[in-house]
């Protein structure tokens, strides 16, 4: 037996090392295009959201933004060459309103989302990593806050300070209830990552807790943070529009939600002034669907276990 083995184990004569036959990865654009073909959700979503942001950036070049304020245009006009989206009852050029309002709404969403996810990250990291009593307390508070209807609480707060509401204040109000969900998500991610090998090694090698969190945990949390941020922005825009539609938004800024509020107040529906309420709704739908697609695409990217694309 042993001899047989020896006999057959000699290196073959036609041994010859090959060159690296794996094709090079390709240019960056090729890789991006390839991935986008396989993950259409992410790309379509990004395109939609970027288009909306672009309206706010490029818009002022085409339309005079001062006409977004009341009495700057003829009131009650249907769409025409002069006013492509018509005007509202108070004399606002609705195209200008869209150009001004979209960035404002997005700003509120991003600001509130940023603050919310920021607080959520800090709390989630602490609760997940430190654990113990701190975790119990934070988790209980988060659970309790999550069971109440957030919008109603926001309504209560906003109604109490109605006269003080500006875009930034609105963002802060919305942010005040935007942090529980990110906290929960990030906490569960931290709990999973905490048991990974490199964290254990870092701990035992004497790294201090803040150091571990900053240098080891955070970089690995980035994909989840991105996905959480997108979801949070979606939720905060939803909440801010909800408040605005009730009239609890900034009274002097033509944000998307306030536009719808004025439209309802002036009975635009019954009077058939569809150009007043339809463009904002279309913009909102596009925004939400875009954000939803982005978060679904990011999910596939960040969560390899649920990857459907090989």
């Amino acid at each position: 037996m042993a001899h047989e083995l020896t006999e057959h184990i000699e290196a073959p004569d036609d041994f010859a090392p090959t060159a690296d036959v794996v094709p090079p990865r390709g240019s960056r654009t090729a890789v991006v295009l390839d991935y986008s073909r396989r993950n259409p959700d992410l790309v379509i979503g990004l395109v939609m959201v970027l288009a909306l942001i672009l309206v706010g950036i490029v818009g002022p070049l085409f339309v005079d933004v001062r006409t977004a304020q009341p009495t700057r245009a003829l009131p009650g006009q249907p769409p025409s060459a002069r006013y492509p989206l018509g005007t509202d009852e108070q004399g606002r050029n609705l195209l200008a309103v869209m150009v001004v309002g979209l960035p404002l709404t997005i700003k509120v969403g991003f600001l509130a989302g940023f603050v919310g996810v920021g607080i959520g990250t800090i709390l989630g990291l602490t609760a997940g990593f430190v654990g113990g009593a701190v975790d119990t307390v934070i988790s209980m508070i988060v659970d309790i806050i999550l069971t109440v209807p957030g919008l109603l609480i926001l309504i209560t707060i906003a109604a109490s300070i109605k006269s003080f509401i500006s875009v930034e204040v609105l963002a802060l109000v919305v942010a005040s209830l935007a942090w529980p969900r990110p906290t929960r998500t990030i906490r569960s991610q931290v709990l999973t990552l905490r048991e990974r090998g490199y964290i254990q090694v870092a701990r035992r090698s004497g790294m201090s807790t803040p150091e571990i969190i900053l240098k080891e945990l955070l970089p690995n949390l980035m994909p989840y943070l991105a996905a959480t941020f997108v979801t949070a922005v979606s939720a905060t825009i939803l909440a801010s529009i909800g408040l605005e539609v009730l009239g609890l938004g900034p009274q002097n800024d033509p944000t998307i939600g306030m536009t719808i509020y004025w439209a309802i107040l002036f009975n635009a529906l019954l009077r058939g002034m569809w150009w007043w309420w339809l463009p904002p709704i279309v913009a909102i739908v596009m925004m939400f669907v875009g954000l939803f697609l982005i978060s679904s695409g990011l999910d596939e990217f960040a969560n390899p276990r649920r990857r459907r694309i090989v």
Partner: protein
């Protein structure tokens, strides 16, 4: 084992309510001075309440809320009143009591919400399960994209679109209201039919959007369940496909779906409230809207507290039924 699960839930319930009540206590007291007088003066300026009744109201409120007493005593008094659901009088509609106004509006909201949620949850969940099942008809797969789009749209926006399409453009449904103007609400069949007719559009706004949400969620749960070992083993046992779908996949995927329901109650209620506003449906949503416009703070706080109470009750009921559906729960501290 069951007992401490129940106890935990009840404690959470109490804490939630206490938190909501405290919030309502703290908010008006954030600004300096006598909050009631300030609010009343404000309301007068914007809402047009009569001057004559103001001082009496201020006195009545001072008495009720003990505003002249030290803060902790005020708090206790307030809690005491909240416990019996006494929220005082409405500013804009004095001398109507807040509680009575809410009780008049509540049945409308509850019926709308209950029906819409039931329909959307059952239909949406089933649809989602079928979409995920590999052996269901092919055309169901194409529903995924529309479902996603629908779920991303807030209820009230969908409501606006529906009103325009189905009530204004095509006069299929009434534009607003809970019942035809002029009819007197009463327990008659014709009124009931009228009320249902008026509730179709609001319900549809909620149902269409929520179905998408539940369907997508259930589909996700089913996909997770499909890969589980017991589904594989069920097939190895030779159980027919439908049996595996019903008793193995669906039955297990519905558990996280129920949790999802419990967690989204707050969101659904918030959305429904705004839908009512859009349709001028005589539920607590419209009540809230009018109160906001008139700066009727006590009504606002009362509505919010009652809503939190209702959701807390619904959540605890759902939580208590959970061990019946998932036998693993009662043995663990949840």
């Amino acid at each position: 084992m069951r007992l401490d699960y129940i106890v935990r839930r009840v404690i959470q319930f109490v804490i939630v309510l206490w938190g909501a009540a405290t919030l309502n206590f703290v908010l008006p007291r954030l600004s300096p001075g006598n909050p009631v007088r300030e609010r009343l003066l404000n309301a007068m300026a914007t809402g047009g309440v009569q001057q004559a009744g103001v001082e009496e109201m201020v006195r009545a409120y001072n008495e009720q809320f003990g505003l002249d007493k030290p803060l902790p005593v005020q708090y206790l008094l307030y809690l005491q009143h909240a416990f019996v659901l006494d929220f005082g009088y409405s500013i804009a509609s004095y001398p109507a009591k807040v509680l009575n106004m809410i009780m008049a509006a509540l049945p409308w909201t509850i019926s709308l919400l209950l029906c819409s949620t039931l329909i959307s949850f059952t239909v949406g969940t089933l649809l989602g399960a079928l979409i995920a099942w590999p052996h269901s008809p092919r055309f169901l797969r194409h529903l995924v994209v529309p479902m996603m789009a629908l779920s991303a749209i807030p209820f009230y926006l969908l409501g606006l679109v529906l009103v325009y399409l189905l009530a204004i453009l095509i006069h299929m449904f009434p534009v607003s209201g809970g019942y035809t103007i002029g009819t007197i609400p009463g327990p008659t069949l014709s009124f009931f039919v009228d009320a249902v007719y008026h509730s179709i559009l609001p319900a549809l706004s909620i149902v269409l959007s929520a179905i998408g949400f539940w369907a997508i969620g259930m589909r996700g749960m089913m996909v997770t369940t499909e890969g589980e070992d017991y589904v594989v083993y069920a097939e190895a046992k030779g159980i027919p496909k439908q049996g595996i779908f019903l008793h193995y996949s669906l039955r297990n995927a519905i558990l996280p779906q129920l949790t999802s329901l419990a967690l989204s109650l707050g969101t659904i209620v918030s959305g429904a409230v705004v839908v009512e506003i859009v349709f001028a449906y005589p539920g607590v949503g419209s009540l809230l809207f009018q109160a906001i416009s008139a700066l009727d703070y006590f009504v606002i706080y009362g509505v919010v507290f009652m809503t939190v109470l209702a959701i807390a009750i619904a959540t605890i009921l759902l939580d208590l039924t959970y061990p019946l559906v998932d036998p693993r729960i009662s043995y663990r501290s949840a």
